[in-house]
């Protein structure tokens, strides 16, 4: 059994979880820890940090663009670990990134460094369940890293149950089958989310991909344990109306309404 900041969070809280995603090294290289600290202060429950990749094929235009700029800024896995090492945080943190950069870094070395810098979980969209289970599960567990899988309305019930069995953090339910942030509206996915809920999975469910507003967030939280906001947050910090810190703080409070 994995015991870390993330599993402790789920033991303590199971409703209205707010998870914010942002890309490491964006808008500027050194912004990673500024955003992380401000999100933590603003009271988000957990944070996903994206490791930029040159070919992010599960992402829409907003995250593609932020990844491209982050790479131009000089972001890499090593730089990110160094940034996280020097910043103290108590909020659960997950890293989200594509498999190739992680593989080139060295999977075990990567897992070890994650633990050292206070990372609790990983989302690697192009690491399929079968490969994870047969080759990497033991390494992730050795370094207390939860692995998070995605499900969509097209995922069969059997497959969802299989994914649940191998999940030790949460399940990431994509609200409508799409690359991140491309649909202009949060589809009313209540039927799908209710179906997920009715399966009585052992893992908490967070839903994401097209959530933009407090209204979307509340709608999502009615059905499942929480919501993930990515592209909309990136859009906000791309065009800050005030300082980066204030932009982060204002956005989070607009969602939580406090």
């Amino acid at each position: 059994m994995i015991s870390n900041k993330l599993t402790h969070l789920f033991n303590r809280k199971s409703t209205d979880l707010l998870n914010i995603f942002f890309t490491a090294g964006y808008p500027k290289l050194e912004d990673t820890t500024i955003i992380l600290n401000e999100l933590e202060k603003s009271g988000v429950d957990l944070i996903e940090i994206g490791i930029p990749f040159s070919d992010p094929l599960a992402d829409g235009p907003t995250i593609q663009e932020s990844s491209k700029i982050a790479l131009e800024n000089g972001m890499s896995i090593e730089v990110l670990f160094n940034q996280l090492e020097t910043s103290k945080h108590d909020v659960p943190v997950l890293l989200m990134g594509y498999f190739n950069p992680v593989m080139q870094y060295g999977i075990e070395h990567f897992c070890k460094r994650c633990k050292e810098v206070g990372v609790d979980g990983l989302i690697i969209p192009d690491l399929p369940l079968e490969v994870y289970a047969s080759q990497y599960k033991h390494l992730f567990e050795k370094y207390d890293l939860c692995n998070v899988f995605l499900v969509t309305p097209q995922t069969s019930t059997n497959r969802i149950k299989q994914i649940d069995e191998f999940s030790n953090g949460f399940i990431y339910a994509v609200s409508s089958a799409s690359t991140t942030g491309t649909k202009s509206n949060f589809d009313d996915a209540s039927e799908y989310l209710n179906k997920l809920k009715s399966l009585n999975l052992k893992s908490p469910i967070l839903t994401g991909f097209n959530i933009k507003t407090r209204e979307n967030y509340l709608a999502a939280c009615k059905h499942v344990n929480g919501a993930i906001i990515g592209s909309e947050f990136i859009r906000q910090i791309s065009n800050p109306k005030s300082s980066l810190q204030d932009t982060v703080k204002d956005f989070v409070s607009s969602i939580k309404n406090d």
């Binding site: 990749f53 040159s54 070919d55 992010p56 094929l57 599960a58 992402d59 829409g60 593609q64 491209k68 790479l71 890499s76 896995i77 090593e78 594509y98 498999f99 190739n100 950069p101 992680v102 593989m103 080139q104 870094y105 969209p125 192009d126 690491l127 399929p128 369940l129 490969v131 899988f149 995605l150 499900v151 969509t152 097209q154 995922t155 069969s156 497959r159 994914i163 994509v174 089958a177 799409s178 690359t179 491309t182």
Partner: protein, 390 residues
């Protein structure tokens, strides 16, 4: 089973697999479950063979190139894929995949294209079958392959520019995969080469294997060499396929060296790359130390790709095939030579294959087959500019 064929898990040795986001799992499962049974079915085979014959114009001739033979002191045979309907081998695969898509009940077809040949071949079969067709093409390629863009439009396809990254084939592939993620139910993605997640590399190789099947039938005995250019590797795999287990046949793949393999403007993946995962398969790819993909360069849009099909990575590592690299400049020279000695203007991609004749140390008894993957009509803009033909 041959050690060069894909195994049950979708791997060629250490290469291949399906490193797909869960979002594509149902689509890939559906293909994996069905592609072999559909290919074996009588209805598929009847229609496939009939279309290859009456629509594509197969079998394509195997032509003894007398003047090239004289020049290089060996018997040089040309497998005339340039004579296929639409002008390249690409249509063998799109015929196979459109028949598959129909049998899976798909209504909408997407594709990526580099040189535009695969896009044209896809638009063609979509017109033939009355299916919607959307082709993703890098912005840079839209410019340098203008005639093919017009052909796709004339055939009723929508051409969508890929504006990210190097704005070439790799980026068009990313866009096509994103489209598939967004349209998981009614859409089939016709990949244009032996790349992508399992079962694509095997499926495309099977549809292209008609090339080597015909060469075997057309030749008396075995050739000593089979030579083909390699972008993703589909025409080469088609030409190698039925010779993989004939060890006396030397298999030669030819990559694009761009400005040279010692420069940073190159697409010589197997000569310069390292193992990694690109477009959902583990193969050899051009990447930096952080695992970010390096943007390739080749004068030829169809070879301008930083990856290669996993089967080729395996043929290289297991030393069954050798992979040479030819510069932009040498490819242009070879294109002129083939035009003037044989009266055949080859595609720029194909011209790379001709350029290695001078480097192979051929004996007079050697019988060499070059897969003439496509004709040069689409490249006339580039030829006019580079060769001062205006």
């Amino acid at each position: 089973m041959s050690k060069y064929q894909v195994n049950e898990q979708g791997f060629y040795g250490e290469f291949g697999g399906a490193f797909i986001p869960e979002l594509l799992y149902p689509n890939i499962e559906e293909l994996k479950e069905n592609y072999l049974a559909i290919e074996k079915s009588e209805s598929f085979q009847n229609e496939f063979q009939q279309l290859l014959k009456d629509y594509v114009g197969r079998p394509t001739p195997l032509f003894l190139a007398q003047r090239l033979s004289e020049k290089y002191g060996a018997e040089i045979w040309l497998k005339r894929e340039d004579l296929c309907h639409t002008g390249a081998h690409k249509v063998n695969n799109t015929i196979g995949q459109i028949l598959l898509a129909q049998r899976l009940g798909k209504k909408r077809i997407i594709a990526e294209t580099g040189a535009g040949q695969h896009g044209v071949a896809t638009a063609t079969v979509c017109a033939l079958k009355g299916l919607d067709c959307i082709v993703y093409m890098g912005e840079k390629d839209i410019e340098r392959q203008a005639p093919n863009v017009a052909r796709m439009k004339m055939l009723g396809a929508t051409v969508k520019p890929a504006t990210s990254g190097s704005k070439t084939l790799k980026d068009a592939t990313n866009e096509a995969m994103r489209d598939w993620i967004n349209n998981p139910e009614d859409t089939h993605y016709i990949i244009g080469s032996v790349v992508g997640p399992h079962p694509y590399p095997d499926m495309v190789a099977r549809y292209q294997s008609v090339i080597s099947q015909e060469i075997k039938n057309q030749m008396d005995g075995l050739p000593d060499y089979v030579i083909a250019c390699v972008g993703g590797g589909s025409n080469a795999m088609g030409a190698f396929y039925h010779f993989l287990d004939d060890p006396s046949v030397k298999l030669v793949g030819v990559e694009a060296a761009g400005l040279g393999i010692h420069t940073d403007k190159t697409a010589a993946t197997l000569n310069l790359g390292t193992p990694g995962v690109l477009h959902a398969s583990r193969s050899i790819m051009m990447q930096d130390k952080d695992g970010q993909v390096i943007e390739p360069h080749s004068i030829s849009a169809g070879l301008d790709y930083p990856g290669i099909g996993p089967a080729h990575a395996w043929l290289k590592v297991s030393e069954r095939a050798q992979y040479m690299a030819v510069t932009d400049e040498d490819a242009l020279k070879a294109a002129v030579e083939c035009s003037r000695l044989e009266g055949i203007i080859p595609a720029l991609e194909t011209a790379h294959a001709f350029s290695v004749l001078k480097d192979l140390d051929l004996k007079s008894t050697d019988r060499v087959v070059i897969n003439l993957s496509g004709r040069g009509d689409k490249d006339m803009n580039t030829y006019m500019n580079e060769l001062n033909l205006k």
